[in-house]
């Protein structure tokens, strides 16, 4: 038995409605408990800001596409190199660091749970292998269903239960957590070098529209009782005027779940663009935020862009090709048979560039204009908008109008005419930041009942203590202190152990992987469905028996069983 007592912590724990109360946190064997014995090790938090461990509900850190980003970018690896020290391994990389680099840097910022945003089922084993080498965070993977042949055929046949059955079989086989749709239908069209223009444009051959795919999979998701909602990367990412497509997509979504949203729309900054082309490109954050305010069934994340060098990577192959044609930088694409695809190019977001400046503003506007912080979570779609190490700066920007104005003065001068940002006075408070970086994320992922995102008894003892007293720091003016504090915790505690202290990781931990196994009736077990088996054998290049990811690939296996209504 190991016990730890964190004393005098200034706790903000939104899922329990706790806002800046000074209290003690008792930990036994990796869990939060009511109290511990006198023998417990004691950490004195001295009134420092103490939050549940950070949760990133949309990041790209592990798997085929991420690793290809590393593979093709030796120039990125020239930054962030550290040697092996004690139990810690060497790291390399800035925008696409090595697995250890990701894990250690997230840990230093107080993050303890990460959701990999896009896992191609056929290559899932790779994602899980990398999870093993991401030791200081618990992990889970959104699984891609945007171009799944079996699902598109079932949708064409109007058989939503079969859609659910295929999702159930696949999630179980690949040890996936949630359902991800990236440019639904577009990734299949891209395997012919084409795309879909918006949600009413049919997918070649399959003759289903993105709207049908979205609606049908949202229903299937709820039939399966999955902890997380459908996680949607809308069609038309990155194109001027795409906000209408985004609103159209969000408008498809009914309110089907009492506990959480019915749709998680990701990196909405990239989908909130007005204008008919690059010349009149402008922000449409306001209509999007107003729309989301009226729809409790929708949660989004920012996908904030920050200036500097990064690597874009997404399952949205056609979008990456368009970026390549724009930048003429190096371009990788990887289509995955019967399922999905991905693309990668490096980019530099520049302050002097008008489009980039507008993008930067839009992300912040979404967070500031959306009334409830539970509905707009903080991300950069790491590393697409910026590497996650920029989160502290984003927090500071959201908390300080003064900082925003100072930054605004350095960007392209025409930005002011294209975006509402300069007129927005709102400054988020500590509680709202806690919602947007852990509580809201845990709730949106549906993992608060699994002990994530809060510090109530029974929760996993994942705690971040930041070297800052909120009664002493005014974030509106002392924004540098906010950045410094969120950049390195005083203590990061993971599963009851101190894993990082003042910017240094201390131990080489071992992650847990969350995955979902929906229990379906015999009739809907695709493993026994003759048509499913026959098509699998004919058109995949991997045998069906060799497709599932074995449990050997899960370090600490956290299987979530759900009762499906099929």
């Amino acid at each position: 038995m190991t016990e730890l007592l964190v004393k005098n912590a200034c706790v903000i724990d939104p899922l329990r409605g706790i806002n800046a109360e000074t209290m003690d946190i008792a930990i036994r064997d990796g869990k939060i408990v009511e109290e511990v014995s006198d023998a417990a090790e004691v950490i004195d938090a001295r009134g420092m800001l103490t939050l549940p461990g950070g949760v990133d509900s949309h990041t790209h850190i592990c798997g085929t596409k991420v690793n290809f980003g590393r593979y093709m970018s030796p120039e990125d690896m020239r930054a962030g190199r550290t040697p092996r020290r004690g139990p810690l391994h060497s790291t390399s990389g800035y925008s696409v660091p090595t697995t250890y680099g990701n894990s250690y840097r997230y840990s230093v910022m107080g993050y303890t749970t990460l959701l990999e945003g896009a896992m191609a089922p056929l290559e899932a084993r790779h994602t899980h292998e990398e999870f093993i080498y991401t030791p200081l965070q618990d992990t889970m993977a959104n699984t891609l269903f945007d171009g799944n042949w079996g699902i598109m055929e079932a949708i064409r046949d109007g058989d939503t239960k079969r859609v659910a059955a295929i999702i159930a079989w696949t999630l179980r086989a690949v040890k996936g957590f949630g359902v991800k749709l990236t440019n639904p239908g577009g990734t299949e069209a891209w395997q012919w070098g084409k795309n879909v223009s918006c949600i009413r444009d049919p997918v070649p051959y399959f003759e289903v529209t993105p709207a049908e795919i979205i609606r049908s999979i949202v229903e299937a998701n709820e039939l399966l009782g999955l902890p997380h909602s459908v996680h949607l990367h809308c069609n038309n990412l990155g194109t001027p005027g795409n906000y209408t497509c985004t609103l159209g997509s969000l408008g498809l979504i009914p309110d089907l779940n009492k506990k959480r949203q019915t749709l998680y729309a990701t990196h909405v900054q990239f989908h909130a663009y007005g204008g008919s082309g690059w010349k009149d490109f402008c922000s449409k954050s306001e209509p999007i935020a107003r729309f989301v305010d009226m729809r409790p069934q929708i949660v989004m994340d920012m996908g904030q862009v920050m200036f500097g060098r990064t690597t874009t990577m997404t399952a949205d192959g056609p979008m990456e090709f368009n970026l390549y044609r724009l930048h003429h930088e190096k371009w990788s694409n990887h289509d995955v048979e019967l399922e999905t695809g991905s693309g990668i190019i490096p980019v530099i977001y520049r302050r002097k560039n008008l489009v980039n400046s507008i993008m930067w503003a839009i992300g912040l506007e979404l967070a500031l204009l959306t009334k409830s912080p539970w509905q707009c979570l903080l991300t950069t779609d790491n590393p697409n908008g910026a590497p996650f190490v920029k989160y502290p700066e984003i927090i500071a920007l959201l908390m300080s109008k003064k900082y925003r104005d100072a930054e605004f003065a350095t960007i392209h001068p025409d930005t002011a005419a294209r975006v509402p940002l300069p007129a927005i006075e709102r400054e988020l408070d500590w509680y709202e930041i806690a919602v947007m970086t852990r509580a809201g994320q845990a709730k949106a992922l549906g993992i608060q009942d699994l002990g994530k995102g809060h510090l109530g008894p029974g929760a996993d003892a994942d705690v971040a203590i930041y070297p800052l007293r909120i009664d002493e720091v005014d974030p509106a003016t002392d924004y540098q202190k906010v950045i410094d504090a969120f950049s390195r915790t005083e203590y990061t505690i993971k599963r009851g152990r101190v894993v990082a202290r003042r910017g240094e990781c201390l131990i080489d931990g071992s992650n847990a992987t969350f995955w979902v196994r929906p229990k379906v009736s015999e009739n809907y077990d695709m493993g026994k469905d003759p048509d499913f088996i026959e098509k699998f054998d004919r058109y995949y290049t991997v045998r069906m028996r060799n497709y599932p990811v074995q449990e050997e690939y899960l370090n600490r296996n956290r299987c979530i069983e759900t009762e499906a209504r099929i």
Binding site: M72, S73, P74, E75, R78, E329
Partner: protein
């Protein structure tokens, strides 16, 4: 100030020694520097007989002279921004990486990646320079961006790869793929070379000898007079964007 570093004979003579600490400005604070032989850190005086004459207040007034079996010394003059390094014999890889000022003179031959990603200053190599002289780094878009490199002997393959600025002159022949991916700056080869300017999209490449294996995607425009040579002028590689200029005295296709 003159710092003389004479290499001591060593048992493990072939394990490379990385000596990025050998930069003129570092000697302003003394000679308490270290170098690495493989994974072992060694004091400068374990590897060299060190002697210092005079003193200096700024890097520009420091001259470092290297002698002995210096061919396994890597990264000498890396990030150098002023002063002088003179190498009496041969020098190992990556001499003058990222250099932005000062002068390096090599009396013998230089191994690969001489003046990689150089930004300024001057390198003179009296002997031959091996592959990737004045080039970029793996995966990078830009090689040399400024300064001058002059090689009196021959140069190896991938000379001035991805050069974006500055001037590279080779008095002898150069190897295969000279000036590949060139997008700025000037490359002059007095002798022959193979497949110059492959995929170039900017800058100027001059070959006073014969371009062997001349690529089929350069369009001939005419002849020009240049420094007393009559040269045939081509546009840059049309497989790419056809920008930039390639001038050769003579050429042979692989037809």
């Amino acid at each position: 100030m003159k710092v003389t570093l004479a290499m001591k004979p060593a048992a493990k003579s072939f394990i490379p020694i990385e000596a990025e600490s050998i930069v003129p400005k570092n000697f302003l604070a003394g000679t308490d520097l270290s170098v690495w032989r493989g994974n072992r850190e060694l004091r400068l005086d374990e590897v060299f007989s060190v002697s210092v004459e005079g003193d200096a207040g700024r890097a520009e007034d420091v001259e470092v002279v290297l002698s002995g079996e210096t061919f396994r010394l890597k990264r000498v003059g890396e990030y150098m921004d002023g002063g002088t390094i003179t190498i009496l014999g041969d020098i190992g890889m990556h001499c003058g990486n990222f250099m932005s000022g000062g002068t390096i003179e090599i009396h013998g031959n230089a191994d690969g990646w001489l003046g990689r990603e150089m930004a300024g200053g001057a390198i003179v190599c009296r002997g031959d320079a091996a592959d990737y002289c004045a080039s970029g780094y793996r995966g990078g878009r830009k090689g040399m961006i400024g300064g001058t490199v002059e090689v009196f002997g021959r140069a190896g393959d991938f000379l001035a790869e991805s050069i974006a600025g500055g001037t590279v002159t080779v008095h002898g022949d150069a190897g295969d793929m000279a000036g590949a991916e060139m997008h700025g700056g000037t490359l002059v080869v007095h002798g022959d070379c193979r497949r110059p300017g492959a995929n170039m999209k900017g800058g100027s490449c001059y070959v006073y000898g014969t371009a062997q294996g001349m690529l089929p995607t350069f369009r001939k425009i005419g002849t020009v007079q240049h420094e007393g040579h009559t040269l045939i002028r081509f546009t840059g590689d049309i497989a790419n964007r056809g920008k930039g200029n390639l001038f050769v005295k003579d050429y042979e296709y692989l037809d």
